[in-house]
């Protein structure tokens, strides 16, 4: 049995992560978006570190350190440099239908809670809330990817999905460290690949608005 306070703090961090996911949804400035993403990674690393403390699982501290080092520091700095080189660090991306997106987000959270609670009825309270929050974060990341037009914000949405996966992995006990490290590095590799792609897209179309890609493929916008 876990002490109520430990559970409350875990709930605080996981709930905070869902809240920061919401904040990502309505950021319309590029720099603000990336800073919020850094906050997202910071909250996830705090959450993982707290899980390491209450589960007595020292290898989770390494996961937290990786999340903090790579996703809260390295990737945001890299993204800042990318948008500066692309010259879009001052652009304001129009977030279409902010109220509708928020409502959809609330609906997704309700959905993930309603799906997760019956499934995990046998599991402990900690795993239950972690899994439902993790599913919410993943779904919100997907929502962000489909509601944004700019390629950089889609990258940020993709990274926030990965944070949700980490939250799910730490809630369920017994994820091997090797897997976590390889996931973290694959994210880093993905960033590099995406970064190169961003420049390729820009060279080709002189913008990173992905709607032009649709036209290029012959789809109707």
């Amino acid at each position: 049995m876990i002490a109520p306070l430990a559970l409350d703090v875990a709930h605080l961090f996981a709930g905070g992560l869902v809240l920061v996911s919401f904040m990502l949804l309505y950021q319309d400035r590029m720099t603000g978006l990336i800073n919020t993403f850094a906050l997202h990674a910071l909250v996830v690393s705090l959450s993982v570190a707290w899980q390491a403390y209450i589960q007595h699982a020292p290898h989770l501290y390494i996961t937290a350190a990786i999340a903090l080092g790579i996703k809260a520091v390295v990737i945001p700095i890299a993204l800042h440099r990318i948008i500066r080189r692309l010259g879009i660090h001052r652009t304001i991306e129009p977030v279409v239908g902010i109220g509708l997106t928020m409502l959809a987000g609330i609906g997704l959270i309700a959905l993930s809670i309603m799906v997760m609670l019956p499934i995990t009825a046998q599991a402990g309270t900690l795993a239950r809330e972690d899994l439902s929050f993790a599913l919410s974060v993943i779904l919100l990341g997907l929502l962000m990817m489909i509601s944004r037009r700019n390629a950089v914000s889609q990258v940020v949405g993709f990274m926030s999905i990965e944070n949700g996966l980490i939250l799910a992995a730490t809630g369920a006990k017994g994820m091997p460290l090797v897997v976590e490290i390889s996931v973290a590095f694959s994210i880093l590799v993905a960033l590099i690949v995406i970064g190169i792609f961003l420049f390729r897209i820009r060279e080709r179309f002189e913008t990173v608005d992905i709607h032009l890609l649709h036209e290029h493929r012959g789809e109707q916008p």
Partner: protein, 316 residues
């Protein structure tokens, strides 16, 4: 029962007596923060007395509604304020009404105010009324979501029960409560026409909301409306204090010392709340009217999120 009645009476008097002082205190602090001297603390009382002595000027097109509305607004707000445990729980009225009743009373006061704004038929009053309703359509659901969050946790919508629960050991550290607090503060700022939503210091601005509705009022009618808005500010600070910082509230039957301690704690809470309000208002700029829906939408979103997150948290 007799004691409850006395506490209730004392509470109503305290609320009425302190409300203008709070408004004067916030104004003074804001002036000091801006490097001005500011009006004296007691200026709101003098303003009210001056308005009460002045003659009422009525527009030709004003109907009976226009004359009745100020008293109804003041009465509804005062009764709502009487339901909030400020310095002591165990109020006589609290058995009859809960937090949802407070929201409803404030809603009817706002309804009367909007009607009065429309009654004379000036365009300014109409703008004010329509904007007030736009703000209310988002602020009220957000307030109700906060009420639901707190009530789900405490198992009751009675403010005295909630205050007792919040002082107990079962609360712990809850993310839902933090979100509910932020949402409630945002709603309070919007409802009291404070700075990011409306500017309480100006009378002539195209973006004003509250002042636009009461532009046609004068004399004792204006005094009633002003006093009602002072009481409303005090009410919101008291609700925040009662739900999120319930320390020091006297419980029924503890004797005179407890009541005096409760009064001192209440005065302290008001001082801190007013100080934070003044600092916040000095630090932040007023937003465009069309951004207000985003601001209150965020409050509503926080309230809904707080309620949703409760379902996966530990049961108290």
């Amino acid at each position: 029962m007799i004691l409850d009645a006395f506490v209730q009476l004392g509470q109503m008097m305290v609320v009425l007596a302190l409300a203008p002082l709070l408004a004067g205190y916030v104004r003074k602090l804001k002036a000091l923060l801006l490097g001005r001297k500011g009006p004296p603390l007691l200026q709101p009382y003098r303003d009210l007395l001056r308005l009460l002595r002045k003659e009422v000027v009525l527009a030709h097109s004003a109907s009976w509604l226009f004359r009745v509305a100020p008293y109804l607004i003041f009465a509804a707000t005062w009764v709502a304020a009487a339901l909030v445990p400020t310095f002591a729980t165990g109020l006589l009225f609290s058995y009859a009404a809960d937090m949802i009743a407070i929201v409803a009373l404030l809603g009817s006061a706002r309804f009367m105010l909007a009607l009065a704004g429309l009654d004379v038929g000036t365009s300014f009053g109409g703008i004010g009324s329509s904007r007030e309703m736009m703000i209310a359509s988002l602020a009220e659901p957000a307030m109700l979501m906060v009420v639901f969050t707190v009530a789900l946790l405490a198992g009751s919508t009675q403010l005295s029960t909630i205050a007792a629960f919040m002082q107990g050991p079962g609360v712990g550290l809850r993310v839902s409560l933090a979100m509910a607090l932020v949402a409630l503060v945002m709603v309070a700022l919007a409802e009291n026409a404070r700075i990011p939503v409306d500017n309480p210091a100006t009378h002539l601005e195209l973006t004003m909301v509250h002042e636009a509705m009461i532009l046609e009022y004068s004399g004792r009618h204006l005094a009633m409306i002003e006093l009602a808005s002072f009481v409303k500010l005090l009410l919101y600070l008291s609700v925040i204090g009662c739900v999120f910082a319930p320390w020091g509230i006297a419980v029924s039957g503890q004797g005179l010392a407890a009541y005096l301690g409760g009064l001192a704690a209440y005065a302290g809470k008001l001082a801190v709340g007013g100080f934070l309000l003044a600092v916040f208002e000095t630090a932040i700029a007023k937003m465009r009217v069309f951004r207000v829906s985003d601001f209150l939408g965020a409050a509503l979103m926080l309230g809904v999120l707080a309620t949703l997150l409760l379902f996966v948290s530990r049961i108290a």
